[in-house]
């Protein structure tokens, strides 16, 4: 009976808020002091001059300078192209994965995730070698009697490196969607005389849209804000926001301006994502009810 009493009045049934707060306290402390406070400092500093006076000049400088507007535009462009690249490579790969045995799928998933398990710096360095003047691509082209083009330090190099890292983020949600499709739908449509292409276009593709859109959202936002791979493969020649946050903070030592660029990056990416997820919700409604 005592046990039943404890069950009714004890920790399981009516948890006390103090215990909860105590358990959450370390996480609250970490995030208040190391996440919320730094971000507030960042935003506050972005409205200051180097001397500390209040100003809008950092934002005025960013928006007024065609060079930096170009940086913003190029960041969004590279992120969008990476997303499209991941979709073009990832969709057929996901379809291939779907047809394999559970064992093979496990291995393919591991293969997809392998770039994420290897140090970012080393992975980017590997691409530096692959695309570099002493790399295999240049060797093959030279052997064929062609002059190898400059493959490094441009948008294409960044694109290749980013698709390589981001592919898993596209394929795995896509697999989730593909797996949820009723396996009898396509055979049923085929039985009714629909050709394979129509089955894909009218059944598989629309039903996998949620996974595709979720993957696109992750890939886009991670790419727009990534620093290491673009910095190594693109360098200063590829104009991307995170790179300029870094150089302004460490080379030019203009902290307020670095803060402003960083804050613009956050606002633009979250703004786009919010708009996109709203679109996604409406889109999903159409898939369900349409």
């Amino acid at each position: 009976m005592a046990a039943v009493g404890r069950l009714a009045g004890g920790t399981l049934k009516r948890p006390r808020w103090r215990t909860g707060l105590l358990l959450a306290l370390p996480a609250i402390a970490i995030f208040a002091l190391l996440f919320v406070a730094p971000l507030f400092t960042l935003v506050a500093n972005s409205f200051r001059t180097q001397a500390g006076a209040f100003t809008f000049s950092n934002y005025a400088r960013f928006l007024g300078d065609p060079f930096y507007r170009d940086v913003l535009w190029n960041t969004l462009k590279v992120a969008a192209l990476t997303t499209i690249g991941c979709l073009l490579v990832g969709y057929p790969f996901a379809l291939y994965m779907r047809g394999r045995s559970a064992r093979a799928r496990n291995w393919l998933a591991l293969l997809l995730l392998s770039p994420l398990l290897i140090s970012m710096v080393i992975r980017a360095y590997g691409w530096l070698v692959v695309l570099g003047p002493n790399g295999p691509i240049a060797a093959v082209l030279t052997w064929l009697g062609l002059t190898p083009p400059q493959l490094l330090y441009n948008d294409t190099a960044v694109l290749i490196g980013m698709v390589h890292v981001m592919l898993a983020y596209m394929v795995l949600p896509l697999m989730g969607s593909l797996d949820r499709i009723d396996p009898t739908l396509v055979p049923a449509a085929k039985g009714l005389g629909a050709p394979g292409w129509t089955c894909f276009w009218r059944i598989t593709l629309p039903l996998s849209a949620p996974g595709m859109l979720a993957g696109a959202m992750i890939v886009f936002s991670l790419t727009a804000s990534s620093f290491v791979t673009p910095a190594i493969l693109g360098g200063p020649k590829v104009k991307l926001m995170p790179y300029f946050v870094y150089t302004q903070a460490t080379t030019t030592l203009d902290w307020p301006y670095a803060a402003a660029i960083g804050f613009v990056l956050v606002v633009v990416t979250t703004g786009l994502l919010l708009g996109y997820s709203r679109l996604l919700r409406r889109g999903r409604g159409e898939v369900v009810f349409g």
Partner: protein
């Protein structure tokens, strides 16, 4: 026909995925003083070169130490926070959840520069401890997410039954709750280790010239030298990652770690 095409395409994608690593490993053996693929001649000279540079070793020790600490702390903090969010109502719970989920959305580079300016304002000098603090912001949200997923799969009636049979709250926790989230804890510890060990973006803002983590050391070395030492370090780190991957696959399954679990049965 489609089958063959599909297989060929998958092989190409596989080649694309392994290319940078395969090339790094192969060219670490080259006898030339510059990185080249295919490697020319075979030598282990660049491995000797790595161990002849004490700064790489000290950076490795620093990185590994911080990563181990990050792994332990995030598992514990993640478990406590996951339990709090899953089971208790307390003031600030909604705000905490909002902050944890927005931590995924804030670019690490922005976090890095925010920490740089905040630490400077606080007069906090760069040390292994500040590095650990910075990495916890990256790792704890994942730990909480994994713990919450583990707790969601736990049948509460098992706990109630144990309590009803007279087990003390501690015994219930130790024998029922903890085993249910064991996978999540191991997973979050490994994830935290890898994230911390691999982090360059945040570390670049937190370190000084005397205190460089391994990724920072390699990144800086790459700016000035194009000799194959980096490929040798890379190969060693790949071996390290392979061991980690095997262990993770053993305990949790790599796919689940990245939040994209598919039930493969």
């Amino acid at each position: 026909m489609t089958r063959v095409l599909g297989g060929a395409f998958a092989c190409l994608v596989g080649l694309f995925l392994v290319a940078p690593v395969a090339v790094t490993v192969a060219s670490s053996l080259t006898a030339t003083a510059y990185v080249t693929f295919p490697p020319q001649g075979i030598t282990l000279r660049w491995y000797a070169e790595v161990f002849a540079k004490p700064e790489f070793l000290s950076s490795f020790v620093l990185s590994a130490g911080v990563a181990v600490a990050a792994a332990g702390v995030s598992a514990v903090v993640g478990l406590a926070c996951g339990l709090a969010i899953h089971r208790y109502r307390f003031p600030g719970r909604g705000a905490l959840e909002a902050v944890l989920s927005s931590a995924f959305a804030v670019p690490t580079i922005v976090l890095g520069i925010g920490l740089l300016q905040w630490f400077a304002q606080m007069g906090l000098a760069s040390s292994p401890f500040t590095l650990l603090l910075a990495h916890l912001v990256l790792t704890v949200p994942y730990a909480v997410r994994l713990v919450l997923a583990g707790l969601a799969g736990l049948d509460r009636s098992a706990e109630k039954a144990a309590a009803g049979l007279g087990a003390s709250p501690f015994l219930v926790f130790w024998h029922v709750t903890l085993p249910a989230v064991r996978g999540a804890l191991i997973g979050s510890a490994f994830f935290a280790f890898i994230t911390s060990f691999d982090d360059l973006t945040v570390a670049l803002f937190v370190v000084t010239t005397d205190l460089q983590t391994l990724p920072v050391r390699i990144f800086n070395y790459m700016q000035y030298d194009y000799d194959p030492t980096v490929t040798a370090i890379g190969t060693l780190m790949v071996l390290f990652a392979v061991v980690a991957a095997v262990v993770i696959e053993r305990f949790v399954g790599v796919a689940r770690l990245f939040g994209a679990d598919q039930d493969h049965k």
